[in-house]
C-alpha cells in the first residue's frame, strides 16, 4: 500500500462525500424547517438521475446533453417536490412523526413503480462529457477528472447554501422557522410558504445529486433505497437540521467508505453502518448542534 | 428531611442557580418563593433528578441524592407534582394513580398478572381522600382543569412519599379550587404528618400553609426562616420591590 493509493482513495472518498452532502443537505433542510422525515428524498434523487439520463439521451448523449441535463433535471425535480408539498405534505403538518414518515414512504413506493413504468427495469448509463473525461496525475496517482469536478461542485453548493442561509432575508426566515416556528408566525410571515420553498429547495438538491451521480454509475431502480439510508444516517450523525454537521458527516461517510473498500473490500458495505452506529452511540445528538 | 447546600446549575453559560440552600425539617410545610425567573422550577428539577447539578449537595434523610436518576430518587421517598398538568392522557383517573402505586410497590415489571385488580384498594383510598372517586373510570383528559390539577397531586401521593414536592399547585386555578388545594395541603400535613415542599405565587396561600419560607432571588437563597421573619426581611422586600419597580 503506497501513498499514491491512499491519496487517490482519499480523493475518491471526498468526491463521493460531496454527492452525499448535496443530497443530505436537502434532507437536513427539510428536517430542520418542516420537521418531516422525508423518506421520498431518495426517490427524488433517483428521479434526478433518470430525468438527466432522458435529457442527455434525447440530445444524443453529447456534451450539451450533459450540461443541459445538469441544469434541467434538478429544476424538474424541484417542480415535482413543489407539487408534492402543496398537494400532500401540507395536510399532515399537524400529525405525528410516524404519519409524516409513512406519507413520504408511500411516495417511495409510488415513485419507485412509476419510474419502472416510465423507464423500464433495464440498467441505463449516461456519458461523461468529453471535457470531464479521462484522468489527471496527482502525487503519482491517476485520478478521474469527473471526481475533481464533483470536488468543485460540492463546495460551490455548500457556499451557495451558506450564502443563502446567512446572508439573504429568505434564508434568515428559513433558519428562524427552524428554531422558533411560533415566532415566525407572530412576525406575520406565512410559514407554510417557507415550508414550500424549503421542500422545493431540498428537492432541487436531491435532483442535483441524482444528475451529478448519473454519469458515474448505472442508473437503475433501487438507487433510491441505497442513498436514502446513507442520507438519513448522515443527517442524524451531523445533527438534525444542521447543514454544516451534514457536510462533516458526509465527508466522514464518503472517506470512510472509500477506505473501507481499499482495506476490507469484502465487507466494505458494513462500514457506513458501523460509522453511523458508533457516532450515534458516542454522540447521540449528532456532531453539531441540532436545529431543534 | 431534605437539605440543599450550595447548589449551582448553569445552562449554556446562563447561571440559573448560583447558590441555593434549603432545609426542610421533618413534618413541616416549607415554601420556596421568589420573583419569576428566580430559578424555583430549576431548583425542583435539580432536587428530583430531572436536571444534573454542576456542584453542591442534596441530602435526603441523611442520604446523598445529588444527581441520582429521577426514578431512584422517587424510590427513596420523594415524589413531586408538576406546574403544568403532567398526567397520563390516555389512561383513566384510576389508572393514573394506580401507576404510581404499582411503581411504589415495585410491581411495574410484573408480566403475567392482570393489572386490573392490582392494588386497587390502595389506589381507591388515594382517590377517596382527593375527592376524585366518582371519576375513577373516566378518561383523565375528560376532567375539568381543576380536577386535573388535583389528580396531578393525587398521582404524586400514589407513590406514598415521605416528602412531597408541589410545583405551583394552584397555578391557573379559581379561588374556589385554590381553597380546595389549601385544605388538601393542610390535611396532608396535619393529619398524615407529611413533609411538603412547595413553590407558589399566591402569597396569601404561602403565609397560610407554610411553617418555613425560603426566598430565592436570581438563583440565590437570600433568606430562609419563619414566615414573620421573612415578611420583615429587608433584602426580601428589596428583591420583590426591585422586580415590581
Amino acid at each position: 500500500m503506497n501513498f499514491a493509493t491512499l491519496a487517490s482513495q482519499l480523493f475518491i472518498g471526498l468526491s463521493r462525500g460531496m454527492i452525499f452532502f448535496i443530497v443530505s443537505a436537502g434532507l437536513t433542510l427539510i428536517f430542520g424547517v418542516l420537521r418531516i422525515t422525508n423518506f421520498a428524498h431518495g426517490s427524488l434523487y433517483m428521479l434526478g438521475a433518470f430525468i438527466a439520463y432522458s435529457i442527455s439521451t434525447f440530445l444524443g448523449q453529447g456534451p450539451n446533453g450533459f450540461w443541459l441535463a445538469l441544469l434541467i433535471a434538478p429544476l424538474a425535480v424541484m417542480l415535482i417536490s413543489l407539487v408534492i408539498e402543496r398537494g400532500l405534505l401540507r395536510f399532515i403538518y399537524n400529525q405525528d412523526h410516524l404519519m409524516q414518515m409513512l406519507l413520504t414512504y408511500s411516495l417511495v413506493l409510488i415513485v419507485g413503480d412509476l419510474v419502472k413504468i416510465v423507464w423500464g427495469t433495464e440498467f441505463k448509463s449516461m456519458n461523461v462529457p468529453t471535457i470531464l473525461r479521462g484522468s489527471f496525475n496527482l502525487w503519482g496517482a491517476s485520478l478521474p477528472l469527473y471526481n475533481a469536478f464533483l470536488l468543485i461542485v460540492g463546495p460551490v453548493v455548500a457556499l451557495g447554501l451558506w450564502f443563502f442561509l446567512s446572508k439573504t432575508r429568505l434564508g434568515k426566515i428559513c433558519r428562524a422557522t427552524a428554531t422558533d416556528r411560533e415566532m415566525v408566525d407572530i412576525l406575520g410571515i406565512d410559514s407554510t410558504q417557507v415550508f414550500a420553498l424549503v421542500f422545493a429547495m431540498g428537492g432541487w438538491l436531491a435532483g442535483l445529486g441524482g444528475a451529478l451521480i448519473a454519469p458515474t454509475t448505472t442508473i437503475s431502480i433501487g438507487m433510491d433505497a441505497n442513498i436514502l439510508i446513507y442520507a438519513f444516517l448522515i443527517v442524524v450523525i451531523g445533527g438534525l437540521g444542521n447543514v454544516w454537521g451534514t457536510l462533516i458527516s458526509s465527508i466522514i461517510m464518503g472517506v470512510g467508505e472509500a477506505f473501507g473498500i481499499l482495506f476490507i473490500p469484502g465487507v466494505a458495505i458494513i462500514i457506513p453502518y458501523i460509522i453511523a452506529g458508533v457516532l450515534l452511540i458516542i454522540k447521540p445528538s449528532g456532531l453539531l448542534k441540532s436545529a431543534w | 428531611m431534605l437539605q440543599v447546600e450550595r447548589l449551582k446549575k448553569a445552562f449554556d453559560g446562563f447561571q440559573a442557580i448560583t447558590d441555593a440552600n434549603l432545609l426542610v425539617p421533618n413534618g413541616e410545610v416549607v415554601a420556596v418563593i421568589g420573583p419569576n425567573g428566580a430559578g424555583k422550577s430549576t431548583l425542583f428539577n435539580l432536587i428530583t433528578g430531572h436536571l444534573k447539578a454542576d456542584s453542591g449537595h442534596i441530602g435526603f434523610k441523611s442520604e446523598e441524592i445529588t444527581n441520582l436518576a429521577p426514578h431512584k430518587i422517587c424510590h427513596k421517598g420523594l415524589s413531586r407534582s408538576f406546574q403544568l398538568i403532567n398526567i397520563f392522557s390516555t389512561l383513566t383517573v384510576l389508572e393514573n394513580v394506580q401507576i404510581a402505586v404499582i411503581a411504589k410497590h415495585n410491581f411495574d415489571r410484573k408480566l403475567f398478572r392482570p393489572a386490573k385488580k392490582l392494588l386497587v384498594e390502595e389506589t381507591l383510598a388515594v382517590l377517596e381522600s382527593f375527592g376524585l372517586i366518582e371519576f375513577k373510570d373516566q378518561s383523565c383528559s375528560s376532567l375539568s382543569y381543576g380536577d386535573q390539577k388535583v389528580l396531578e397531586i393525587a398521582i404524586a401521593l400514589g407513590s406514598k412519599p415521605k416528602l412531597l414536592l408541589l410545583d405551583e399547585p394552584t397555578a391557573g386555578m379559581s379561588p374556589d379550587e385554590t381553597r380546595r388545594i389549601v385544605n388538601l395541603i393542610k390535611k396532608l400535613s396535619q393529619e398524615e404528618g407529611l413533609s411538603i415542599l412547595l413553590t407558589e405565587h399566591d402569597m396569601d396561600l404561602v403565609f397560610d400553609v407554610a411553617q418555613k419560607i425560603m426566598v430565592l432571588h436570581q438563583g440565590c437563597t437570600i433568606a430562609q426562616g419563619l414566615p414573620e421573619d421573612i415578611r420583615n426581611d429587608k433584602s426580601v422586600q428589596s428583591a420583590y420591590l426591585g422586580e415590581a419597580g
Binding site: 422525515t37 414512504y105 408511500s106 438519513f232 | 410484573k110 393489572a115 400514589g158
Partner: protein
C-alpha cells in the same frame, strides 16, 4: 354510584367478555375446519397471514403501546429465520434446538441493539434502530460462509411431520394463538400498563419511580423475541430465507400493517397483516405494480384514516355510546 347500576354494569361487562370469548372460540373453530374446505394454495396463504400477523403484533408492543419509533423490526424476524436456517443446514443439531434458539437469538440481538437505542428519544431512537438494523442486514448480506450471502438459504430441512401444507397451517395457527394470548396478557399486566404510561408521559413515569429506559428495553426485547418466533414460522412456511427479509423496506411494510389495522387496538396489526397479504396476492394477479397500489393505499390511509381500520370502527362505536371509554 348506586349498587344497581354498578351490578348491571358488571353484568354488561361479563356479557361482553363472554361474547368476545364466544366469538373467539367460533373463529378458532372455523380456522380449524378451514384446511379441508379450501385449496392448498389458500391454506398456504393463511399460514403466511398468521406468520405476518404475529410479526406485526410484536412490533406494535413497542410502536403502539410503547410509543417508540421502532423503524427496523424486520431484523429480528430475519434473525429468527436465519438462526433456524443456519442450524438446520450447517449443523447436525436437532430441529427442536433450532426452534428454541431462533427466538432466543433474536431476543439477544434485540437486547444489544435496544441497549443502545433506549438511551435516545423520538426520531433519534428511530434512526439508530435503522442504522443498527441495517448493520445487521449488511452483515447477513456479506457473510457468505455463514448465510450464503445474497443467494439466501434454500430447501431447509424440517421434520417429516411439518412438511404438509396442513400441518404447517395448524402449527402456525397454534403458535399465533398462543403468542397473541401471551402478548395480550403482557399488555394487560402491570408491565403493560406501565409501558403505556411511559408512552403517554415518560418524564412523569420517571418521577414515579419507573426506570423508563429499562422498561422500554424490556418491551423491545420481548418484541424481538416474538418477531423471532415469527421468523421460525416463516421458515416452516417458506423453507427458505434471503437477506431481503431483513432489509429496511420489509420493516416499513410491517409498520404499514400496524397503521392499517390501528396502533391502539390489540388486534389491529393482525387485521392489517391479513389485509396486506391478501391484497398483495390479489393485486399480483392483475399487475406487477403491487408497490404502486400499496403506496396509493398508504397515502389514502395516512390522509383519511390515520387511526387505522379497527381504530376507526372502535371510535365510531364509542361515539355512539358516550358512556364507554374511548381507546384513543
Amino acid at each position: 354510584m348506586s349498587t344497581n347500576s354498578s351490578s348491571s354494569l358488571i353484568l354488561q361487562e361479563k356479557f361482553r367478555t363472554y361474547l368476545g370469548l364466544g366469538m373467539a372460540v367460533a373463529g378458532i373453530l372455523i380456522l380449524l375446519a378451514i384446511p379441508s374446505l379450501i385449496s392448498p394454495y389458500y391454506v398456504y396463504l393463511l399460514a403466511t397471514i398468521f406468520t405476518t400477523a404475529l410479526l406485526a403484533t410484536s412490533l406494535n408492543l413497542v410502536l403502539g403501546y410503547g410509543g417508540l419509533l421502532h423503524l427496523h423490526h424486520a431484523v429480528f424476524y430475519g434473525i429468527g429465520a436465519y438462526t433456524v436456517a443456519i442450524i438446520m443446514t450447517k449443523t447436525s443439531w436437532p430441529f427442536a434446538i433450532a426452534v428454541v434458539l431462533g427466538p432466543l437469538v433474536a431476543a439477544l440481538i434485540a437486547l444489544v441493539i435496544g441497549w443502545f437505542c433506549v438511551r435516545l428519544r423520538g426520531l433519534y431512537f428511530g434512526m439508530l434502530t435503522l442504522a443498527l438494523g441495517q448493520l445487521v442486514w449488511a452483515i447477513v448480506y456479506r457473510w457468505n460462509a455463514l448465510t450464503n450471502g445474497d443467494n439466501g438459504i434454500h430447501s431447509i430441512p424440517v421434520p417429516e411431520f411439518l412438511t404438509s401444507v396442513n400441518s404447517v397451517y395448524y402449527t402456525t395457527l397454534l403458535v399465533l394463538i398462543v403468542s397473541l394470548v401471551i402478548l395480550y396478557l403482557i399488555i394487560k399486566s402491570p408491565f403493560g400498563l406501565t409501558l403505556i404510561a411511559t408512552r403517554d408521559n415518560p418524564m412523569r413515569s420517571e418521577s414515579l419511580g419507573i426506570n423508563v429506559k429499562r422498561h422500554r428495553l424490556t418491551a423491545f426485547v420481548i418484541a424481538g423475541f416474538f418477531a423471532g418466533v415469527a421468523g421460525v414460522l416463516f421458515i416452516l412456511v417458506e423453507r427458505s430465507v434471503a437477506p431481503s427479509l431483513l432489509f429496511w423496506n420489509k420493516s416499513a411494510e410491517i409498520l404499514i400493517m400496524c397503521l392499517m389495522g390501528g396502533l391502539t387496538v390489540f388486534m389491529g396489526p393482525t387485521l392489517g397483516a391479513a389485509i396486506l397479504v391478501v391484497l398483495s396476492m390479489i393485486v399480483g394477479l392483475y399487475t406487477e405494480y403491487w408497490l404502486l397500489v400499496l403506496g396509493l393505499l398508504l397515502l389514502i390511509l395516512v390522509l383519511f384514516l390515520p387511526q387505522g381500520i379497527l381504530g376507526y370502527l372502535l371510535k365510531s362505536r364509542n361515539n355512539k355510546k358516550p358512556s364507554m371509554r374511548g381507546e384513543n
